[in-house]
């Protein structure tokens, strides 16, 4: 294929050429970044929590009128007995929080009592000896809490438990040689807690970007939280009985004692609902970016079809002359495909630079990481193919121009 005559022809259509190239450049720049955002969000929302999500639900139970700690503690014990007796319930535990809750509680962790700089950071989950089974966690080393190790703590009461169960991620961060079991950790106090067990995986409560470097670093304390504000019950239903258990549980609690508040709308949430809420904005951003990318690609393709069709219409005579002089249909087809490829190449070149510039701006102004070059390359290939696909129809029409056109005056 001779490129020179194509370039000569393009020079006579500077404006159209520049506009198509510019549009391809803009499309590439935006679509690359949008796809990267989509990928990041999807990766984020498919992170596992480590709990038995299919069978879990949580009850946000608030007290009404009970203010003394012993009174609340007695009520919690009675509630738990009632919950665990329900036919659809496998196990239940009191807690302060659950994964994907959003905001949470975390502590600085040190390895010695007099350390001023933290070693790392860990999310705190409170519960009794049923917590591990309720969440469906895998105990990979050591043992569970014993019932006699579980104590009750009031609001802002900082009693350190002598025993703690940690996630594998936290154990490895604190003791990289794998010797965490039986070793101490210090959670913002000078009193040690001994690591008695290690669970496989338990996600933190918050999923904000700032806590990424502490992902999956959680620890479990054997404590019941007797706050006047209320408590969270985590309940694990028997397989297939989630819906029934979610109906039975609040009724059973109200039967136990009416002086409590379980919000009719948000008080009882299945874990699927929890997950949906937590990743609301991530899923939304991915959808929005997807819609914009599709619209943009469609518009660019339509634009290429439109402008090329015009060019074909304008050059019918020239095409006829070339055909009359012996050019085959394929020659004409190739001419327009090559012309589009040249314009596309110009566009993607500018677009690749623009994509990186936009990415740099986003790194500087909003939370964003560096755009991998693979995305730009994939975008380049995609847009060149899109261009070739879009130009195909008008180019085919051009190749069907009969040589007889050469003799017509219009």
């Amino acid at each position: 294929m001779h490129i020179k005559p194509i370039l000569a022809a393009l020079r006579r259509h500077k404006a159209g050429t520049v506009l198509i190239a510019l549009q391809i450049a803009l499309t590439l720049a935006i679509v690359c970044n949008a796809l990267f955002i989509i990928h990041q969000r999807l990766a984020h929302l498919s992170e596992p929590t480590g709990v038995d999500e299919a069978n879990l639900f949580v009850i946000e139970n608030q007290w009404a009128g009970q203010t003394s700690n012993p009174q609340i503690d007695a009520q919690i014990r009675a509630d738990l007995v009632a919950l665990r007796q329900l036919p659809g319930v496998r196990d239940a535990s009191p807690s302060n929080a659950y994964p994907l809750e959003g905001s949470g509680w975390d502590d600085f962790i040190t390895l010695t009592p007099d350390q001023t700089e933290k070693t790392t950071d860990a999310a705190v989950y409170l519960g009794d000896e049923h917590l591990i089974d309720t969440l469906g966690l895998q105990l990979v080393a050591g043992r569970n809490f014993r019932a006699d190790e579980v104590n009750s703590v009031g609001l802002h009461q900082y009693s350190v438990s002598p025993v703690v169960i940690v996630t594998r991620a936290l154990a490895e961060r604190l003791y990289p040689d794998g010797s965490a079991l039986g070793k101490p950790l210090y959670a913002m106090t000078s009193t040690p807690s001994t690591i008695i067990g290690v669970v496989d995986r338990l996600q933190r409560q918050g999923i904000d970007a700032w806590s990424d470097s502490y992902a999956y670093q959680s620890m479990l304390w054997p404590q019941r939280l007797d706050m006047p504000r209320g408590i969270i019950y985590i309940v694990r239903a028997k397989p297939g009985q989630l819906a029934a258990a979610m109906r039975e549980a609040p009724a059973a609690l109200y039967t136990q004692n009416r002086m409590r508040i379980i919000d009719p709308k948000n008080g009882v949430l299945s874990f699927a609902q929890v997950r949906e809420r937590a990743y609301d904005s991530d899923r939304g951003m991915a959808i929005l970016m997807g819609i914009i990318s599709v619209v943009l690609l469609a518009i660019t393709a339509a634009g290429i079809v439109g402008l090329t069709s015009f060019w074909v219409g304008q050059r019918r005579r020239q095409i006829g002359i070339r055909r009359a002089l012996g050019a085959t249909r394929n020659d004409i087809l190739n001419y327009f495909l090559t012309e589009n490829l040249l314009i596309g190449a110009m566009g993607v070149l500018i677009g690749a630079v623009l994509a990186l510039v936009i990415n740099l701006w986003m790194i500087a102004h909003v939370e964003m990481s560096r755009l991998p070059l693979a995305y730009v390359l994939a975008g380049v290939v995609m847009l060149l193919l899109l261009g070739q696909g879009a130009v195909l129809a008008p180019a085919l029409r051009a190749s069907h121009v009969s040589p007889v056109e050469a003799t017509r005056s219009v």
Binding site: Q23, L26, I37, I261, L296, G303, F310
Partner: protein, 438 residues
């Protein structure tokens, strides 16, 4: 002449319905995407109290020192109890209030009804006049009520509806956390977004309503705990809510009204003097590192506008730009295809300006059509934006007259701009050339 151009434009658009439809659709999509995201951005970046925001200030005191600062050297974004109460006692601003988020239970008098949980804030009496809080019945409480820790409460109209059927309940009693409070005021609808007086705890936007306001010292003395964030740099030495009050943990929001530049300077000096005294007395081991931001600067500092909103708007504007480039290309093709027509008009004596006018009218018409279709799509977009953005933010997006006008204006102006170059090219058509080739 204008109506003649309109007629010409209509005729030309009818001649190539496919191309026209493509241009109108392109403009409509570009405008609708930008306007939908803009409506969300406008909602979240708006000033919640525009007549007063430049007079409202949030003081920050660096009571944790270098180890407790963020990587940007900022002091904590809330106050501990000790500092908040001292600042209230010193009373250096015209109006000011310390406040903390509460979530008490309300027990209905009717024993057959379940107790309900409400959210609200414990505030000082000056909170209400400072923020121009509108009242339906009654008013806020007095400074005497502050000092006497009076059992008084201000409730929202929504709670008033629920408890008293919407009647004037001033003087009636509400049971909050097991104790009786006298209603002194019922708010008119008041749901500022962002929840600017306590953005640290509300995260900016909230679908809920503030249902109760209690006197700060009353809530402290009866031990209604804070429901918002508590941040500590060390574990408090004492337990319980009282232990929290004695600790250096931060959990209290603070706002002060400073009416002029002199008052701002004086207040800043007061804060620095306060920190300086604390340094002298040995409580702080570091030089004063305070902040005093006005409300807009504070909202910016707290990143109240979510970055997702900014990115969405940016990407949508990029889409609009790409749509305009596309339209410019299509218009160019369309106009130049009519070179012979232009040639005839020019040969018959039409000046270049007439060609300009004719084609800009045509571009403007496409813009108008795109704008009208874009309006419909924007309506659909705003209605379904809750599907892709967090509910509390999406709920704020509205279609109103100004958005409608902006949409149409953006569509027409943008399309006319896109039509400028094609029109310029059309006006340069050499009449002789065109006539010859015919």
């Amino acid at each position: 002449m204008f109506t003649y151009y309109l007629e010409l434009a209509l005729r030309s658009l009818k001649r190539s319905p496919g191309l026209t439809a493509l241009m109108v659709l392109t403009i409509a999509f570009g405008v609708a995407a930008s306007m939908t995201t803009y409506s969300v951005f406008r909602a979240v970046s708006g000033d919640p109290i525009p007549w007063k925001s430049s007079k409202l200030f949030v003081p920050q005191i660096d009571m944790w020192g270098p180890n407790g600062r963020g990587s940007d050297g900022e002091p904590p974004d809330a106050m501990d109890y000790n500092d908040a109460v001292t600042l209230m006692r010193d009373h250096r601003a015209r109006l000011q209030s310390a406040m903390y988020q509460i979530s008490p239970s309300i027990v209905p008098a009717d024993a057959s009804k379940h107790p309900i949980n409400v959210s609200g804030h414990a505030v000082y009496s000056e909170f209400f006049p400072m923020l121009d809080v509108p009242f339906l019945y009654g008013s806020g409480w007095s400074t005497d009520d502050d000092t006497q820790r009076a059992a008084v409460v201000v409730i929202s109209s929504k709670l008033n509806q629920k408890l008293f059927g919407g009647s004037n309940s001033v003087g009636k009693t509400v049971n909050v956390e097991g104790k009786d409070y006298r209603v002194v005021g019922v708010l008119n609808d008041w749901n500022p977004q962002p929840r600017f007086f306590d953005v640290v705890n509300s995260g900016g936007f909230s679908t809920g309503v503030e249902d109760v306001f209690l006197p700060f010292q009353r809530a402290i003395s009866v031990g209604i705990p804070n429901d918002g964030n508590t941040n500590c740099n060390a574990v408090p030495t004492e337990s319980g809510f009282v232990g929290l009050q004695h600790s250096a943990c931060v959990w209290i929001a603070y706002m002060a009204e400073l009416d002029d530049a002199a008052a701002v300077i004086a207040y800043k000096q007061y804060l620095d003097g306060y920190a300086h005294d604390a340094q002298q007395s040995g409580r702080f081991g570091w030089a004063p590192n305070n902040r005093l931001r006005d409300l807009p600067a504070w909202l910016d500092n707290q990143h109240v506008v979510p970055s997702d909103t900014k990115v969405s708007l940016l990407v949508a504007l990029g889409l609009l730009l790409a749509c305009l480039v596309n339209t410019a290309g299509l218009l160019l093709a369309k106009f130049l295809r009519r070179s012979s027509e232009i040639g005839v008009r020019r040969a018959l004596g039409a000046p270049r300006m007439a060609i300009y006018a004719q084609f800009l009218v045509e571009a403007g018409m496409i813009g108008l059509a795109g704008g009208v279709l874009g309006l419909l799509l924007t309506g659909v977009g705003v209605a379904s934006v809750g599907w892709v953005l967090p509910k509390d933010i999406a709920a704020l997006a509205r279609v109103d007259i100004s958005l409608l006008l902006i949409t149409l204006l953006v569509a027409v102006i943008a399309t006319t701009l896109a039509g400028l170059y094609p029109t310029f090219r059309a006006s340069r058509v050499q009449p002789a050339w065109q006539l010859k080739s015919n």
